[in-house]
Subunit: 243 residues, 2 copies
């Protein structure tokens, strides 16, 4: 069943035409009437599609002149490919510092909430959600919204990449106990208000994760791929951080 309304199909078709290069940025689209005829729909439908494209900032409508293709403002978020290794390394660095900061500012209430996530993770129900909560609570405990935002953005990045989600799924599910133990260590450091220890524990957490990622990717890879992996292994290593 195609429940979509007609004009969404037209949006898609026009967008495809633009992306194919048939109508480069700055050029003018055919008049509404022509588009309507060539797509075998009515003019209002074409108008609706054009309005949708206009709201999306893909085209600009100049009254009595025509519809012009706008420059693609590429989301840099989308343009830069990010691997699971990069993401994990970035998380280690940023969340490591966040933990160090949080150790000085965290409240008893937040420590209690952290404890709850540990319990939830131990019971194994919604372990992944408890994982996320754990990290978010810590980032908020920094009392620094810029840091919170940075951590949230990394999480968003993780969720927006299917290959990263897949990679994490492989790793997390097979080492729940490690993850729990590491979270406990971070929690203890925070409870002790020990910045250094909190940073270090966070680094260890992600170091294990990154090594697991390498193991999985190596196990899957052919010999040739293995060689490349070992080259990049040095690049994303956290060995200089884990004391």
């Amino acid at each position: 069943m195609k429940n979509k309304r007609m004009f969404w199909n037209i949006v898609e078709k026009i967008e495809t035409l633009i992306d194919s290069g048939a109508y480069p940025p700055g050029s003018r689209l055919p008049p509404e009437r022509e588009l309507a005829e060539s797509f075998s729909v009515s003019r209002p439908t074409v108008r609706e599609a054009i309005i949708a494209l206009e709201v999306r900032q893909r085209v600009e409508v100049k009254t009595s002149s025509g519809v012009y293709v706008l420059e693609m403002q590429q989301d840099k978020q989308e343009s830069k490919p990010v691997s699971a290794f990069e993401l994990t390394q970035a998380r280690a660095l940023i969340e490591g510092e966040a933990a160090a900061l949080a150790a000085m500012t965290i409240t008893e209430a937040e420590l209690a909430k952290l404890k709850l996530t540990l319990d939830a993770m131990q019971k194994g129900i919604n372990a992944d959600q408890a994982d996320k909560e754990f990290h978010v609570i810590i980032s908020n405990a920094t009392r620094n919204n810029a840091v919170s935002l940075a951590v949230e953005n990394l999480w968003r990045l993780r969720d927006s990449r299917d290959e990263i989600k897949a990679a994490y799924k492989n790793v997390c599910s097979q080492s729940d106990s490690d993850r729990l133990e590491e979270h406990r260590a971070i929690y203890t450091a925070l409870a002790n208000k020990d910045s250094q220890a909190a940073r270090s524990a966070m680094h260890h957490h992600f170091n294990r994760l990154i090594n697991s990622l390498f193991e999985v990717s190596e196990a899957k890879a052919l010999e040739e791929v293995k060689r490349k992996s070992s080259e990049t292994r040095g690049l994303y290593s956290l060995n200089h951080l884990v004391s």
Copy 2:
């Protein structure tokens, strides 16, 4: 001159109605025909407005049922207020780690580009742009796009807040020489591939900045505000980082 097309006005009116609480999330808007009458426009015009709102994810159209108001998905980017102090502290932490990482991976070409920004800054032309380039080059030198994105997002955050831009403007313009000197120190550390020194130099850079921000804000503030400031000064201090 109101060159805007009619339907944009309708979009505005409907959005105002929604924001005013007249149509809370989940509720149904009046039928197109009624809206057309009450706004004294034709039905197609109302349809166009609704489509614009739909593309913006403000409403959901259910065929033959009605138009329903969606939950405002507030950009957390916008909802969380971020002060210049928070931003600067976050930059210190994240860019400090970025510099430490970059020290191990930076290329000669990138060092040369860094040098150019130093020269530009010395000449005083486009000093602010040179500043930005300096930091971006370093984040890209990490070979970690997740880190690059994090740094870029912080910059975007800075540019999106007028009060932060204003605060930075006050501080940067009055201490160009300090900034240049600190950049040189960071450059030297990177050229020497000295991670520790690079991190430390970056921390010093932002530490000076944060202290300048405090001075400016204190100079401007009344006595009472001063007291609050000195309370939060401890919160955003980098003293635990600068050795």
